[in-house]
Amino acid sequence: MTAAEGSAAAQVGRTPYLSIRGLSKLFGEFAALTDISLDVYEGDFVCFLGPSGCGKTTLLRAIAGLDIQTAGSVVQAGRDISRLPPSERDFGIVFQSYALFPNLTVTKNVAYGLDSRRGSRAETARRVSELLELVGLVEHADKYPAQLSGGQQQRVALARALATSPGLLLLDEPLSALDAKVRVHLRHEIRTLQDKLGVTTIMVTHDQEEALTMADQIVVMNQGVVEQVGTPEDIYGHPATPFIADFVGSMNSLKGVATQGGYVRVGAVEFAAGGTLRPGMAATVCIRPEDVTVRGVAASETNAFPVRIGAIEFLGSFWRVTLRSEGNGGFELLADFSTNLVRDLDLREGARIVVAVPPERILVFAGGGPRP
């Protein structure tokens, strides 16, 4: 199943707003994007997620027409825009740097795209104040960009991009230049705004938490190809590749060997995981820290094994615990335990406990590890 088909399966009955087919981009000999196919549906908030340098910006710029692809097509709202310059496409864009015009006030920045379209002056003024209202900057209307905070500048850029009511909103790492607290707040604000306006939005980010909390659909990219398209739950719960398993969320990746009957042996522990690997093949067992259970685990249970508690770290709402398996070939496993669990069972460093992992929560990939 290709990535495009995967996304289509989840969107039965809807026609895509933006369709990308067989898109590749070369910089000289270097292939920044290879054969990308992707559908984006009307009104969705889509995140391109991937490590730095994987081609997210390149794909976004191809969609915008700012750096047109080497091969492949882009269709927006039924119109083939593959060859069109940006000025003949229908999108608004916010860059990482915001690219606000420093010599123009907030009002003039927001009105920049409105001026050139024949509309009455009063109409423009009305639209600007509507937008400033929307992003909460009414009292800053006459300030210059240099007089605003990073978060405020970001919202001006957003208002400017939305002013002409584009069909598609493109955001390239819009939050990465801000400090952590503002970032979390703006995540929510951008998402609320998008819901309110219903504008189809693509946001580029390398921050998996940002993608998981904001997106309807996540497109995970790696080294110029799309690795998986799906909802945040899909991506988190059913990562299609070891790379995604490792990149999205916290993950224990344990190297082991497949044995008879769908088991994988890691050190002295045999994990039942329902895999279909041939016995003797190298395999990687992926377990999320929050899927490790302690309460009511009997030693005879499936996937139960004894561990000794290493470091315990308090992370606010939960504890991150390092577990060390016993026997030869012992491995380390991170587990997240709730505060009341730690209190109830009186878990301490050095204590010996039995933990288990439900077979359906275990992911098994062929091969030696998450990074190919």
Partner: protein
């Protein structure tokens, strides 16, 4: 990852050009065309002339053979190289010490000294020559200091050139010294390195590229300068005066072309060496350096103060003598005040009309030049498509720097005065003086504009395209206002240089388009030295006034109009 075969065999998307792309391409073609006509074609005409006889037939290397078999001609090569190397060898240490005093000591009155040191930029290079004649000439006050040697010759040339090149060397070395990293010094001191050792291992390497760059700039300025040797060179022939003599004196255009080509050689070499040094320098600067803050030290500060006082006094003397001589009856016999020497209309050389012509020429050069340079720099820096056009534009914009003014002027004669050139209607007009001067000073202006444009966010054009605003509108509403200070710098640079330049325009003026700087030359030639000094001073007054106006504009009006720069 390299391109897989599958991608390589794919159908390539051919992007469609937008209206913006077409406008930018048209502008690029226009400016490239203008520069081809303004730089490349004249240079080609000059090179071709060197291989032709007077009647235009091709004669191969015959002209060169004549040149090298005439000792009176090729001796000039040795003379030129000698005075140039001597001047460079003296100017660099002086400028280095001066710059060191301004940046690395706590001596008083630094900005005053810097201001004084930059004064020679406001003068035509003829003026220091004239002052030296007053000081050390036959009736000179300080003639005794020469111990019987004549000022007319290599001594005069070297002294005059020192004044002419000092501010240029100083500016480069100031930048090199100001941008060095304080942390290196702290590290060296904490390692217990001695003063000499720190100087040799930290200071000198830090300004190495600045010194190399200054060397080549000074070398080129001196070997191609015409003003100083013209006034004070006497019978000591150098390449620059030879070009002038061959063309103006003997009307031997072919030989003029040959000498020009010989002059072009070192200038082009120096140009490439300088570009190389510059690239290294900026590479060394990418890391964020902490500026060096000197601490007071009495002995050192006093020594540098004394040195800077001496240099400052020398510069003020040269300026003062010219100014004084222009306002008194007869140096050194009758010191009573008169404005007689400023009555230019009573003398040959162009009169007051030449001064007015200079104002018109400089104003037009500043206006037209700033506009073209800025648009050209914008196209090089901000347009995306049409790579061949941008590369050609960048190349042509750099070319004038490698061409000495005399050579450019002569090249214009050959190109525009050719009877079969449809543009020969321009010959002997004010327009050709303006065009020539814009081209002459194009490169520095271009680099200034490019540097300013590089500071602008590279996505302004993308945002503008996404909002469907035409590129020229964003250029006008954003790029130009944000770069206004740089545009002002460029226009001042062009104006002052247009006022002071002689070398290129000396071949191109007609009686009705004579310029002030040319009038200085001609009045000096005619023995009207006091009037030559007076006209030279008119240029200094004007340039200084424009500089003042520039400072006022940048600090006052512009600062208020640019409130957005401040938080």
């Amino acid at each position: 990852m390299t391109a897989p075969a599958a991608v390589a065999s794919m159908v390539r998307v051919r992007p469609r050009a937008s209206a913006d792309d077409r406008i930018l391409m048209l502008a690029t073609v226009l400016i490239v065309g203008a520069l081809l006509l303004g730089v490349a074609a004249p240079l080609y005409a000059l090179l071709a002339k060197g291989f032709q006889a007077a009647d235009g037939t091709f004669v191969g290397l015959a002209n060169f053979r004549t040149y090298f078999s005439t000792p009176a001609l090729f001796d000039s090569i040795g003379n030129s190289v000698a005075v140039t190397l001597i001047t460079t060898g003296i100017a660099l240490p002086l400028a280095f010490l001066f710059a060191y005093g301004l940046t690395r000591t706590c001596m008083p009155a630094k900005s005053l000294f810097k201001g004084i040191a930059l004064i020679p930029i406001l003068m035509p290079s003829l003026l220091p020559g004239i002052s030296l004649v007053y000081l050390f000439g036959t009736q000179g006050l300080a003639k005794g200091l020469l111990m019987g040697e004549s000022i007319y010759g290599p001594i005069g040339i070297v002294l005059g050139e020192l004044f002419y090149v000092f501010p240029h060397a100083l500016t480069i070395l100031l930048i090199a010294l100001a941008t060095s990293d304080a942390r290196l010094y702290e590290a060296a001191e904490s390692l217990g390195a001695s003063k000499t050792r720190i100087f040799l291992t930290v200071t000198l390497p830090g300004v190495r590229y600045g010194l190399i760059s200054a060397f080549f700039v000074v070398f080129t300025l001196v070997i191609t300068d015409f003003g100083v040797p013209k006034v004070i060179g006497g019978k000591y022939n150098v390449l620059a005066t030879d070009v002038y003599k061959q063309v103006i004196g003997r009307l031997d255009f072919e030989m003029g072309a040959v000498v020009s080509m010989i002059l072009l050689g070192p200038a082009v070499l120096a140009f490439f060496a300088d570009r190389l040094a510059e690239r290294r320098q900026s590479a060394a600067l990418t890391a964020r350096a902490v500026p060096y803050e000197p601490k007071p030290k009495r002995g050192r500060d006093a020594a540098f103060f004394a040195f800077c006082v001496l240099v400052g006094l020398a510069i003020l003397t040269v300026l003062g003598v010219a100014a004084y001589a222009s306002w008194i009856k007869l140096w050194p016999y009758n010191l009573s005040f008169t404005n007689y020497h400023y009555q230019f209309d009573l003398r040959d050389g162009g009169g007051w009309a030449s001064y007015r012509n200079s104002l018109v020429m400089s104003g037009s050069t500043a206006a037209l030049g700033t506009a073209i340079v800025f648009v050209g720099a914008y196209l090089v820096e901000k347009s995306r498509g049409f790579r061949p056009g941008r590369i050609a534009l960048q190349f042509l914009a750099m070319m004038p720097m490698a061409v000495p003014g005399l050579v450019l002027g002569l090249a214009y004669v050959f190109f525009f005065n050719a009877p079969n050139n449809p543009l020969n209607g321009l010959y002997h007009t004010m327009a050709i003086l303006v065009i020539n001067t814009v081209v002459h000073f194009y490169t520095v202006a271009h680099l200034t504009a490019v540097t300013a444009l590089k500071q602008l966010d590279s996505e302004f054009e993308s945002v503008s395209a996404s909002l469907k605003v035409p590129v020229y509108k964003t250029f006008w509403r954003v790029s130009v206002p944000v770069c206004a200070p740089a545009a002002l710098d460029i226009s001042m640079y062009l104006f002052v240089n247009a006022m002071t330049t002689v070398s290129a325009v000396v071949f191109l003026y007609a009686p009705h388009t004579a310029l002030a700087s040319v009038a200085v030359l001609n009045m000096d030639d005619a023995g009207e030295i006091a009037s030559a000094a007076a006209m030279g001073m008119m240029i200094v007054y004007t340039s200084a006034a424009v500089r003042g106006l520039h400072a006022l504009l940048t600090r006052g009006v512009l600062a208020r109009a640019q409130a957005w720069r401040h938080r």
